[in-house]
Amino acid sequence: MTVNEFFESTDFQVFLDETLRREAIRAAEVVLDRGKKVKRHQMHVIPSVIQAAGLDGLRKLADRQKDKNTRTENKAFWTEISSLLSSTATTDLSLFAFLQSFLRERGFLDPEEETQDKVTQKQIRKRNKLITEGLMENVIGVYFEHFNCHYYYKTSKGSEK
């Protein structure tokens, strides 16, 4: 199965419904555990920015917000979101790393270590990055639906019941 076939498959629907949800919930909990609780309206803009300008638009928003916001908790929150969107390192808050690991497990990425040639390695890395970014662009809307709703739920009074 190619990546494009994967996007059209039921496996992809399962990924959106289960795997991605688990990851988004985990990430929302990490952000909350670090005490970066922000008011709901801070996050309201996320879905519409994704709708209008995609992943790139959201990255720009997060970067702008983290530099702009004067309230400590807002600044900290947007710093976490910016890292979640842009970090490629295997940290507890990197959507890229999570997706890349998923793609690798499914055999959609070429292994870099199979060749000793530096130029070929670089080409493979670039190709893998493109595939991962493609997946990220495709799932970002649903990812933030899971993330935001869980965040709202956990920060509401009702979730304590």
């Binding site: 039921t10 629907q13 639906e145 899971h146 009702g158 979730s159």
Partner: protein, 139 residues
């Protein structure tokens, strides 16, 4: 952005459909959906709010959208949703677990079962809610 493929396209066999019906019957008899419907009526949830959930259940192709809808409503700090939201989410978690059990290692089947179970569950909950809220009006 990717359009979602309706999970219900997956055709379920008669045996699975029977298992779904049996589970929903048992769930009804155990009083879970009655409790949820009654709590929705008792906390003063408006019919339009319940119909919002009902409409989503009919139109969605993704089970997690239902969960997210409830979380979102609870997150708005509306007292009706706050009082009943956690119970609804618990019941949906049970439904999801049951779907995993029924479908085994077949992801397409799992998605289809989850949605059918959730719709059956919602029909029961809404019926109890309407009955419960009607009782109040009749008094």
């Amino acid at each position: 952005m990717m359009e979602s493929i309706p999970a219900q396209r997956h055709k379920l066999d008669v045996h699975t459909m029977t298992s779904i019906d049996l589970f929903l019957e048992e769930y009804y008899e155990q009083g879970h959906t009655k409790r949820a419907g009654e709590e929705m009526a008792n906390c003063g949830m408006k019919k339009s709010q319940v119909h919002g959930l009902e409409n989503l259940l009919v139109s969605t192709s993704r089970f997690s959208e239902i969960i997210n809808y409830i979380k979102n409503q609870v997150g708005k700090d509306r007292k009706e949703w706050q009082s009943v939201g956690p119970l609804l989410l618990d019941q949906l978690a049970t439904i999801e677990m049951k779907a995993h059990e029924m479908a085994g290692e077949e992801p397409a089947k799992r998605l289809a079962i989850k949605l059918i179970l959730a719709r059956g569950w919602a029909r029961q909950v809404v019926a109890h809610y309407l009955y419960g809220s009607g009782k109040g009006e009749r008094r």
